[in-house]
Subunit: 335 residues, 2 copies
DNA sequence: AAAATAAGTGTTATCGATAACTCAAAATTA
DNA sequence: TAATTTTGAGTTATCGATAACACTTATTTT
């Protein structure tokens, strides 16, 4: 491996001079600068960022932790985060928890041992608290994405879960639906709680009661689990519409409905949070509350970098990005 | 930051003893081992992997370079690679080139300065040659994914582009189509060349001629570019079917068709390579040659790790994963 | 012209960990 | 019991880079 010492020797200077040329620090005569640069190119020198990090006590690596790499919401978010990080001269270490606390913990340990400069963190749920405290203990700045964690003060980028849910459910109510089921995430995730609360509010504002037997909880990425749907269609008074708390749960519901010979929207209307990235071009079908995924990532990364570089005010910032109701063909008026 | 010296001092031993406890090397009495471990836990010690990498000359970081993080083919592949890497005790540094040579080069520089132990590399095209030579020059092992590069000898994991394309086009021919267009990737990508060659072979085997004015080239991820489709529908003898060389190009084509009031498959049949991950559950619509994306990642990572750890034979291996023809509802017989 | 300052470069210590070597005490062997 | 081996540590050098300081020569200033 080529090091600054190899360069130094061949250029007839000290290692320190090479370091100065690389970093554009100190005073170097134009002649030696040129000479050193020429040798660096000849030997195809690439700085060893580990050695540099060790002495500088910073890595210029940021980490992005998402909960489901196969969810288009998160990949689009990742693109936003990536663009913002690269633009600011940071490398990005992706991590994917699969909504699994143990995997999340593994990645947090990795971040700590890598000594990343900061983390853009989409937590799996309230129990992520421990992992976040771990980061705090080691003074690693982070920004929370998409989900709030009770007990953690941090910069936040959130969607308008409650309002979005309310809009979706109100849309169903306007279409005449009265028995509206909800397939929700597990209640230890803040977005699940808020979306439920929006669901509830829509009912109450319209003078309807909430029937909790129509509210089912499942892991946000277990779209293969059809038991939620079974519980609903075998209900003694089955729903006429379903509100899925995210896109994956909607996919699961629709898949299960299809298997059972039920059609959307003929037999049931379906709405959900989040859309499907590029692929819903194929068949813009589901009525959704669409969140600005790219912005989640870009803005979150910006907040993180500001905090790392000390440009952020002391107090924590909470950004709420609005979602947009896109009415498509998975809903129809109740006949 | 807590270091082994802090541990050593508090435990009343030398730093070397701590290092031995951490790595389970050398001889340590059970008593001191316990004492050191206790102190490590008390102080929440996390090893600094940079310092370790510096002396060990290996990082235990592998990199996965994909060309489009928003393409479900690549995110599923990424899951496969991630699982295999973590299982073998490596960290994974994701990189996303967006089919852009300059971005790819930036990421390669990053990999070099991070001194990753190996790279799972989906190249943007034949011009990736330079970036790969750069890796070779610095003795970083890599495995090529999805695309072959003339001039590079390496382990390879490929799909059966030619056969897959032939099967798709033969399906169209069986349905009676005679004027079949192809929207292909740029010809400096091996899969584009092979898929064209399968397209050609299907025609010739059926005694049909190939009309190159029906073959259009576009960047594999520019699904927004509608000019390809315009060229086809304004052709003096327009096609009755379209073969898109990957899923993104198909999305672009269908979107453009829809905007122009044309319906699939009524007005044109459409087939493509790759499917759409979870999301095609929503509406299994496109007839595709489905590739085992997860296996691409898992198998590629396995080959890479074997090579790094010296378990691979000298000669390079070339794995070809078969694709599966899934006939759905985007194709119909020509009337 | 002497004193003060600036320019250009080199020396040494350091970041946190491990390899290679050393060494005393305990255990084993002859 | 003396010689040898094993056990359980410690010392020192090193990985590749940079910070802090030192030290010549120029160059300015008075």
């Amino acid at each position: 491996m080529i090091t600054i010492y190899d360069i130094a020797e061949k250029a007839g200077v000290s290692a320190m001079t090479v370091s100065r040329v690389i970093n554009n620090t100190g005073r170097i005569s134009e002649a030696t600068r040129k000479r050193v640069k020429k040798v660096m190119e000849e030997l195809h020198y690439i700085p060893n960022s580990m050695a540099r990090s060790l002495v500088l006590q910073k890595t210029k690596i940021l980490s992005l932790l998402i909960t489901d790499i196969r969810n288009p919401f998160f990949t689009t978010l990742a693109r936003g985060a990536e663009d913002a990080a690269l633009r600011a001269g940071y490398r990005l270490l992706f991590a994917n928890s699969d909504e699994d606390y143990a995997k999340e913990k593994g990645y947090v340990d990795m971040m700590l041992s890598t000594r990343v400069d900061g983390v853009l963190f989409a937590p799996t749920g309230d129990h992520s608290l421990e992992n976040l405290l771990q980061l705090q203990k080691h003074n690693i700045p982070f920004v929370l994405l998409d989900r709030e964690i009770p007990g953690i003060e941090a910069d936040l980028v959130l969607g308008d879960s409650k309002e979005g849910a309310r809009k979706l459910v109100e849309h169903l109510i306007e279409l005449g639906h009265r028995r509206i089921a909800m397939i929700n995430g597990t209640p230890d995730v803040s977005t699940a709680r808020l979306r439920y609360s929006g669901y509830r509010e829509a009912h109450l504002l319209s003078g309807l009661g909430v029937e909790d037997s129509l509210v089912i909880h499942r892991n946000f990425r277990d779209f293969q689990d059809e038991s939620a749907l079974d519980a609903l269609i075998h209900h003694e008074q089955p729903p006429t519409a379903i509100f899925a708390a995210n896109n994956m749960l909607a996919i699961g519901a629709i898949q299960a409905l299809r298997k059972r010979g039920l059609q959307v929207p003929r037999d049931l209307s379906v709405v959900c949070f989040d859309d499907f990235g590029h692929t819903d071009v194929l068949n813009p079908f589901l009525t959704v509350a669409s969140q600005p995924a790219y912005q989640f990532g870009a803005l979150g990364m910006q907040l993180l970098i500001e905090r790392i570089e000390g440009e952020a005010a002391q107090e924590h910032r909470k950004m709420i990005l609005p979602s947009e109701l896109l009415i498509r063909s998975s809903t129809q008026a109740l006949v």
